[in-house]
Subunit: 435 residues, 2 copies
Amino acid sequence: MGGVQSLGVGMIGLGVVGGGVARILQERSTYFRQAHGLDLVLRRVAVRNPGKPRAVDLPAGVITDDAPAVIQDPGVDILIEVMGGLDPASGFCLEALRAGKDVVTANKALLAEKGQPLFHAASEAGVGLGFEASVCGGIPIMRALSRGLVANEIESLYGILNGTTNYILTRMSDDGGSFEEMLGQAQERGYAEADPTMDIDGTDAAQKLALLCRLAFCSHVSPATIPRDGIEAIGPLDIDFARELGYAIKLLAIAKTHGRRLETRVHPALVPSGCLLANIKDEFNAVEVVGSAVGPQVFYGRGAGQMPTASAVVSDLVDLARQRTSSVRQDAFVPTETAEADPVPPEEVVTSFYCRLTVRDRPGVLAQVAQIYAQEHISIAKVIQHGRSDTEDGAVPLILTLHEAPEGSMRRAVSSINKLPVVTEPAQIIRIEEL
Amino acid sequence: MGGVQSLGVGMIGLGVVGGGVARILQERSTYFRQAHGLDLVLRRVAVRNPGKPRAVDLPAGVITDDAPAVIQDPGVDILIEVMGGLDPASGFCLEALRAGKDVVTANKALLAEKGQPLFHAASEAGVGLGFEASVCGGIPIMRALSRGLVANEIESLYGILNGTTNYILTRMSDDGGSFEEMLGQAQERGYAEADPTMDIDGTDAAQKLALLCRLAFCSHVSPATIPRDGIEAIGPLDIDFARELGYAIKLLAIAKTHGRRLETRVHPALVPSGCLLANIKDEFNAVEVVGSAVGPQVFYGRGAGQMPTASAVVSDLVDLARQRTSSVRQDAFVPTETAEADPVPPEEVVTSFYCRLTVRDRPGVLAQVAQIYAQEHISIAKVIQHGRSDTEDGAVPLILTLHEAPEGSMRRAVSSINKLPVVTEPAQIIRIEEL
């Protein structure tokens, strides 16, 4: 209470996000002073090329090319890392934490792949490590999990965490194009990178899911251990049949607790078209969290972009600054104890399924397929057989939805089905999530 | 860091919400100790009838009928007020704040109608006043506004804040009943009180909107000054025509900044059927916030009920406890300065409109109506005239949507239209919000 406390901020990187952070610090300085009693002074910013013209005006002497000098500057209390990449960003963050500075980073890949030593260093030094910006851009999901829902055991979490794939799937559904066409469109509009592999194949979503698991379940999950499928095999036929069945197709990142075990996965899924996640359009993100006390909650917003990401960085900065003005350290962002997750093996994961077969149009096909599913104790829920021929050889799509079954059983069934002479292409299998 | 700090909690009231709070404190005590270093001890609970059997087991001596003794107990650091009502709850909270205790309350009406002295007392005493539970149950919207979106100027806010009216409107839309039928159903299912007036007429939503404005705009708004319309006049015809036009009807609470002026209102509105708010079903709540940096965000969940509300109370309790273990007070929940809002007069508020007229089925009606709108410089966007006769006297509905116009102009136009001899019932006017 009373009076304004001044804190020094250092930043490494002044690209898109860094420029946004600098702008917010300038534009909101009066508010931070009046409403929060904080004078946040951007004291030093390290960049590769100090001579380059910048969109934001900073006082002389603030910009330097000497990152270690920024980190060690005694006038810098909190360091913002927005340079990106694993190295040297990792070393810079570690050095700052060890020097007793709080660190804020938007670097999802760094935290997901090499975060454990950083979280450990923050805990050792009794400083904070803010990473709200690393998942879902400006959506305050990290705060919701670590603070707002503190009274809840989180039971499950379903996220649309990747804007690129959600844009592609939305456009395929609403405009009716192919995956390749819509990927091209996403690239033109800046929603997909030149090399979109990490987005398309689910790696980006898996990294974000790992970070969400840290706060939602106090679990340490390595992204490499999260089973994942990308969206590259989703075709217009699947979008159409899903719609006919009352579903939309979304790339979901899912985590669920089963006692002490944690089930994690990233894959395209059919979700009921009336549910909120089915209605998340284009490049937007959303996370549905089911808490033991609150039940289902959804958090929605822009998952990327300059100002949303900068907004999240600054929210961490303000929280850490408030904390730093306390004499007792509070360790706001890093749960004091996280345990290595005990994963549910993929073959034991139980879901219902959508199965699109391409078969020769002759009697008895369904009987053969049904018998194989019966052998694996998988029940058929619905069958669609329009008899329309989409291919030169007269093959037709045969669509089935299947009641809940372990993935292991489904894999064995599909392996047998793919060997049937009447089946002309490998089966397309997509999980169904009844949110 | 290190060690566990013990804090004493007092509670006034052990009804539905209080029972939920006591349960969470018991079930989550290990987590609070391990992850937050907090031992939250429910030391004393004041109730009207200490002899009554309770669902939750508390140690002997905790329950008392002496509320002032709970407040003044030196072992009580934080007071939870869940007794409800304006008096004596108001006096109890004031007394606790003045005694240097943090206060957590779920008492929306108290804060909205008589909150100013409480916020003032908290500020004077340098203690916290947590009220996350007072708006939207378990949805951490207060935290999102005061912390997560701290980097943003909030430009506008659209809330479905009342579960009763949202349940009624959803069921009217999905099941096709009348307002009265669905109100009856809501009462049977426990979503509406025996006297539902405050829900139906928008008073409850206005109180919640006033509290949201405190955090979103640092503005002090008295609920009585918020213009409001209820949903009692919405009929099945309106639901049907709205759907035909591509909209759903929702009771919205809206706040928008215009420079230093604040526009607030609560009324039913047509919202595009594809937007998220149109898809908020039954008793659920949602708030869409548009921030200067993040753009639109939506927060969704259960707005009422025992455990969601208790979840919000406990989240405030944990935050205040963390704060209390700091030697520097941080005033987390109450913006240090709020200004009396400078309201936009209702007649200046600009929206587009849906207008349902009941007219005699004869030539020239539309020309007469169109001329009146033209005189007020209101442009017609769409007209629907099915010619179906719904009434004994052969009157038919004539539906118009109107481009943006100030409410004052619309009122004058409608007053003239209602006087036309061909118009057999007063016009039904509902605002359109293109979210």
